[in-house]
Symmetry: C2
Subunit: 258 residues, 2 copies
């Protein structure tokens, strides 16, 4: 939950300094209108790694863009099992998909130290009403997110452990390179990887033990090296083949309506 402690001065995250603006909700809005877009933002909030931002089923009256860091969206089942639904990286928009009572159906946790640009629902409505560019951009972002979610269904439904671990690694590794370049060392190919093996298991419906065995196999084959929250993919082509992963999905969201 957001408390006073989380709220930072908006000045600390000015739109004009934003490195992920082009991928965000305002990605198609001309820079000259930056003051207009910034006006809609209500707050800039920070969270420390491990902080729970929102609890499944609580009501919520805002949505946000992740500016820095990494969040996970997840659900718990009665059995106590956790399913990670989505890994959120900078530029991603979060807070839609409410049920018919206006509740958000998943919990949100900061996986690493993170900063979000917050918009109250009223202001989201305003943005959409006043600016069809933003409405269209939101539709494109949603539809891009839907593609990723459907690929996850495909993974979980039909791929074996090796294939789906490879997919998760390739998807996240590629997205980090594009969305969070500060966490990616372009010289060495090493990325800061926000998920540990237990998290990966929770995203894939596997146990951490089995995830470990699969990754050990990849290391043996020389496809990647990794350690505590670090990941370096050595053979992207082979891993992509194993995963049936298509990089086209990760690039800039399609601009269907311009």
């Amino acid at each position: 939950m957001i408390t006073e402690n989380n709220i930072a001065h908006s000045k600390t995250a000015d739109c004009s300094q934003c490195t992920i603006r082009s991928r965000s909700l305002f990605g198609t809005v001309d820079e000259s209108k930056m003051r207009m877009t910034q006006k809609y933002r209500d707050k800039y909030c920070r969270f420390s790694a491990g902080e729970v931002i929102h609890n499944e089923r609580d009501s919520i009256d805002y949505a946000f863009t992740l500016r820095t860091g990494c969040l996970i969206l997840y659900n718990y089942l009665d059995s106590g099992e956790r399913q990670i639904l989505r890994v959120v990286l900078p530029g991603d928009f979060v807070g839609f998909s409410r049920n018919n009572k206006g509740e958000l159906l998943y919990s949100i946790k900061a996986e690493t130290d993170s900063g979000i640009c917050l918009f109250f629902d009223d202001n989201v409505t305003k943005m959409i009403n006043e600016n069809s560019e933003i409405a269209k951009r939101l539709i494109d972002l949603q539809s891009h997110e839907m593609s990723l979610c459907q690929q996850r269904v495909l993974n979980l439904g039909q791929k074996n452990a090796t294939e789906s671990v490879a997919y998760l690694i390739m998807e996240l590794y590629s997205r980090i390179r594009v969305q969070s370049p500060d966490d990616f060392n372009f010289a060495t190919g090493e990325a800061f990887f926000p998920l540990n093996q237990a998290d990966m298991g929770d995203a894939l419906g596997l146990t951490k033990v089995h995830v470990n065995r699969v990754i050990a196999g990849f290391k043996e084959q020389g496809l990647l090296t990794c350690g505590r929250k670090k990941m370096r993919v050595i053979d992207e082509e082979s891993l992509s083949d194993i995963a049936q992963f298509d990089i086209d999905l990760i690039e800039e969201p399609f601009r269907q309506f311009i």
Copy 2:
């Protein structure tokens, strides 16, 4: 693919006769503006059960609302396995989530005889530009669909065969009651159920053999009766409990922006 054979006279499906308008893209548009909304529709097309409407990865220049019948969206893997991503019922909007080349990432097949209201992309853009009511509705529909998709991820990732078969049955059965009432006998509780057991397996990542065993168990416990494309749920509460299914998800999409 759509051919001349599929195109029916638009008059055969007038908006004023439409029984699922309230759930569709035009659900929030006042009836007095019906002529305006109908103007955007380019074609009304019919498909027979089994017809493939669109092939994975082909380019496409339209989106549509399903008016009658039932469609499935699916992908094939290299292994030849099929994953059903979504079962489309009347009122649902289909044709977004393109990749950055404008391709649709899934195939579309008519599971039963079906009729669709087709909009070319240009007209979708026009609708959204000219009418923020429609844009907002589209955003709400997409976010509702996203919730359903995330629930599917939860099912596939963390639930066992019994739970996920129960979930699929409850989700579809409930949606048929709401979205396709002609296929639902409110006196007996019997629904026309568009998926056979092999299809259900392809939606859940299970084999048809195992789906059959699970359903046999439900029958033994007196939770449901079913036969060739028929389904009658006797004990909705027990099945919902097993499935951890929440009916709130199925009701009218949340109107977040009004």
